[in-house]
């Protein structure tokens, strides 16, 4: 396909398939297509007109927003999936307190029971750690990745 000569017909084919934005066209033909469009602006407009209309129509389709409930379920599922979530700073003191409570329970009720309880609390705490962080405003990829 790379060696194909660019013609008005081929431009029309590309537009019909890939849409009116040349950046979405196959890389091997993009440069030749751009050159042809620059050299034949009127013919290019004719060839691209319907494709741009179809693009606009597609963009009018409704978008589904992510609900807070779905976001929270997905975040909580990270812990359920076995990720060992590290504590976030805002909840660290509570984590230490809960850890102490877990050990106290182990001392009273026996090692097996205590271990189970600590595990349960730790799991809850992991979920809370991620959800705490999720509730902080202004945190995005830039904040996370620097």
């Amino acid at each position: 396909m790379n060696a194909r000569r660019m013609t008005e017909g081929r431009i029309a084919e590309l537009a019909e398939a890939w849409g009116g934005d040349v950046r979405r066209w196959p890389e091997g033909e993009r440069e030749a297509a751009r050159a042809w469009i620059e050299a034949h602006p009127d013919a290019a407009d004719r060839a691209l007109f319907e494709a741009r209309q179809t693009d606009a129509a597609l963009d009018a389709a409704p978008r589904l927003a992510v609900s807070a409930a779905l976001r929270d379920r997905v975040i909580a599922s990270a812990v359920g999936a076995g990720l060992r979530v590290r504590a976030a700073w805002p909840g660290l003191r509570r984590l230490l307190w809960l850890g102490g409570a877990g050990w106290a329970a182990a001392a009273c009720a026996g090692v097996v029971f205590g271990a189970t309880l600590s595990g349960h609390l730790a799991l809850e705490r992991q979920v809370e750690a991620v959800l705490d962080l999720a509730s902080m405003t202004g945190l995005d990829d830039t904040a996370v990745l620097g």
């Binding site: 890389e27 693009d55 597609l58 409704p62 589904l64 975040i75 991620v130």
Partner: protein, 205 residues
């Protein structure tokens, strides 16, 4: 578990610059901020993919949640350089959609789901909502492979090599699917084009 891309060379090139790699590494280490950022980055994409493919908001949420769950499981053992994470996640999401579409065929329902959701934003108005609903219905009426091609290339903005790899076809075959899909959509929505006769009010002459 998943098939290899149709163009391994092209995939290696994109894998070398996987923009999700660093974030995914931190997710695998259980970094809460990274998990939060990954949800912000990928959950809307998975939800959009599933909604366009299935046409149903509830099912789309289920698929998006399941795809993200599989991402969490995969994160600690992800090996960089094999494929782009986004492409892998689309493969997972598509497979979940295929499963649901297959189940629908096995257990026919009275009507395919068609619930454009949520409603129009306050500043859009009724006409925009009607147009959106028309496009949504037209998209859902496309044959599955044509719809998949349009969804991956137009809405998910995957490169043609990525989309072809996911669909396990050549770029030329993908182009053919797109052409047919977009042509059908254009004909379905022809009455909405400027200067066209409104639907249901008779044809020309």
């Amino acid at each position: 578990m998943f098939g290899r891309p149709a163009c391994p060379e092209g995939d290696r090139l994109v894998a070398a610059t996987d923009p999700d790699e660093e974030l995914l590494r931190r997710v695998g280490q259980g970094d809460p901020a990274a998990i939060q950022a990954m949800v912000g980055r990928k959950l809307p994409r998975m939800l959009a993919l599933a909604y366009r493919m299935l046409g149903d908001a509830v099912e789309a949420e289920d698929v998006a949640q399941e795809a993200m769950l599989r991402a969490w499981k995969q994160a600690p053992r992800w090996r960089p350089g094999q494929a782009r994470f986004d492409t892998w996640l689309h493969r997972v999401g598509l497979n979940l959609c295929y499963d649901r579409l297959r189940r629908r065929r096995e257990v026919p329902t009275a009507m395919p789901p068609d619930r454009p959701d949520p409603g129009p934003a306050p500043d859009r108005g009724l006409l925009a909502a009607e147009l959106g609903a028309r496009v949504h219905r037209a998209l859902q009426a496309l044959p599955q492979r044509q719809r998949e091609a349009v969804v991956l290339c137009h809405y998910q903005e995957l490169t043609n090599i990525e989309a072809a790899g996911l669909m396990e076809v050549s770029v030329e075959a993908l182009e053919s699917l797109l052409s047919r899909g977009r042509r059908t959509l254009r004909l379905s929505l022809a009455d909405l084009a400027p200067g066209a006769e409104p639907a249901g009010e008779g044809g020309r002459g």
